[in-house]
Symmetry: C2
């Protein structure tokens, strides 16, 4: 985050009067939290922001102040466009193409490594765990006092993007931000209960089907989810990321894979690894992408053949990984 | 925590030479973390502590330094007995009756509301989220420097007893302790991955069976687990608490109930409620106990009849609760 960008962002925000704030399609907790959080900051500054998202906000975030203020159809003219948690302009969906923002400067606030820096000012910190953490610093720089509403929205992004302070990028500094947000009135237990633990019945039914179908071989656990099973449950396609995260917790596993058959016959593949193993390579080789410990790709069906092909590749890849390097399962904490 | 007890505890610990540290039967993360954490403190003080637990430590804690040092058969004579995370002496199991501690003073370190204060010194703080939080303050008072090993053990208790900072007793002060432990070298991500997310395959298979059997009616979700289903899965009886916690996360539910048929034909009943509802009353009426939001009891079988009886009682109880008070579902954060 360059100070030039910080200055320019502050200037854009303080000088606007009717900004359009947009977060990404298929919004998650950080998208919703950063959208509403910045909304409350602008309301406190006596601006008239409009908050927009192409897709409906997940109901589990209905505890957030301002939840009902978000529209999918902005109207009128805006003198500033602010994109939140979007790595590229396409992530704004239709809202990014709304005619009423034509000519308005774009302020890009995000934390993704892949951010394209497409704004006239880019408040992008790839070291932050969430866009709300970027916002937290920005708000401090703006001098707007943190109130309970702002703090609740910001902590929601922090908690959901780290899956409850679980990811490896959670440093003492991140927890220190959480401390300040709690002191400003953010209710951590309410946020985790709603933002992380609240799930539609269908998601648990899908997990039921998945856990009953788990297969395990040589450090790999996998599940195949045929379309028919998903349809019988009435699954809406959400919650598979959580499923892969559950599977990689199985004692003794090095890699977990979820194969989800799509309506068009293709198969979505989600990989997870424990520290010491790498699933970025196999996803990339299959035309997908991701990180060392979490990656994914889309491969041709049918499901059974896709599973066999991917699992064969994975076994060869893991044999190579095990041969190459001593396995560090990340279970030894630093001492001293 | 009275300063008299703090002084006496410091004196006991500094003057001993061969203390026996004991944690409770069926040890959890706080039991293991407080046992090993105090062990490292005493080793740093050049004492010769022996660490004991009647039951084997769960394998998911094998990342903790000193994990292999714990015995179920202490030998020789001890000049101090320290009970950790035990609300009464019976929680120490057979170890509490070991003849080699006869005549030795007992130092009782715990955080349970129900602690019987059975020691010559009782370092009991019912406001602490874990026994390791009590230990943290004690270590500060002792002046022993926190190293990575001690900090890792203490943070493990903090993380597991709060289910990853989820429980309602997690204040900003608790997170501040976590910050200091991380700065002393405790690896939060390793602790959450192993201490919270690592599960035997059988636990997920049981969840698979459970989620496939979920029944839902009027804000109540329940699952019955016949002995035959548990045996087919090879379930070892652990992990049901996690199951009830998952169920209460289902969108729109007020109460979740898990009925687990026991080998003797009785039925273990676990209740969970969302804030605004109370399951302490029904558990108490059925001869059990617990808290407002989490309680349990043991009722006579057979399973089907037990379910019907308990669910009928629960429906009446909930009708009364809904009639009595406006439902506060805890989803409105404080603002301002």
């Amino acid at each position: 985050m360059r100070s030039k960008d910080l200055d320019r962002s502050r200037e854009l925000l303080l000088n606007c009067s009717r900004p359009l704030l947009v977060t990404h399609v298929a919004p998650d907790g950080d998208a919703v939290g950063s959208l509403l959080g910045l909304g409350w900051v602008l309301w406190a500054l006596d601006k008239e922001p409009v908050l927009a998202c192409q897709d409906p906000l997940p109901r589990r975030f209905d505890f957030l102040p301002g939840f009902d203020e978000v529209t999918d159809r902005p109207s009128g003219h805006f003198d500033l466009l602010v994109s939140l948690d979007c790595s590229d302009p396409g992530r704004m969906g239709q809202i990014g193409a709304y005619p009423g923002v034509r000519g308005a400067p774009l302020l890009n606030i995000d934390h993704h490594l892949t951010n394209l820096e497409f704004g006239v000012a880019n408040l992008v910190d790839v070291g932050a765990v969430s866009t709300t953490q970027v916002l937290y610093r920005f708000i401090r720089a703006l001098g707007v006092p943190l109130d309970g509403r702002i703090a609740t929205c910001l902590l929601t992004g922090l908690v959901t993007d780290t899956r409850g302070f679980r990811t490896s990028n959670v440093t003492a500094d991140v927890l220190r931000v959480a401390v300040e947000l709690m002191e400003a009135g953010a209710p951590l237990a309410v946020i985790t209960r709603n933002g992380l633990d609240r799930r539609p019945l269908g998601a648990l039914r899908l997990w039921g089907a998945a856990f009953s179908r788990m297969e395990v071989d040589d450090g790999v656990v996998w599940v195949g989810l045929p379309l028919a099973v998903q349809q019988a449950i009435g699954h809406d396609g959400c919650g598979d990321a959580g499923l892969a995260n559950m599977l990689i917790g199985v004692e003794g596993m090095h890699v977990a894979v979820v194969f989800t058959e799509q309506e068009d016959g293709q198969v979505e593949v989600g990989f997870r690894a424990v520290p010491g193993f790498d699933v970025a390579g196999i996803a990339l080789a299959l035309g997908g992408g991701g990180h060392t410990l979490a990656s994914g790709c889309l491969v041709p069906g049918p499901l059974e053949e896709a599973q066999q092909r991917v699992l064969t590749m994975l076994r060869e890849d893991l044999a190579r990984q095990r041969g190459q390097a001593p396995v560090d399962d990340g279970r030894h904490p630093q001492s001293g």
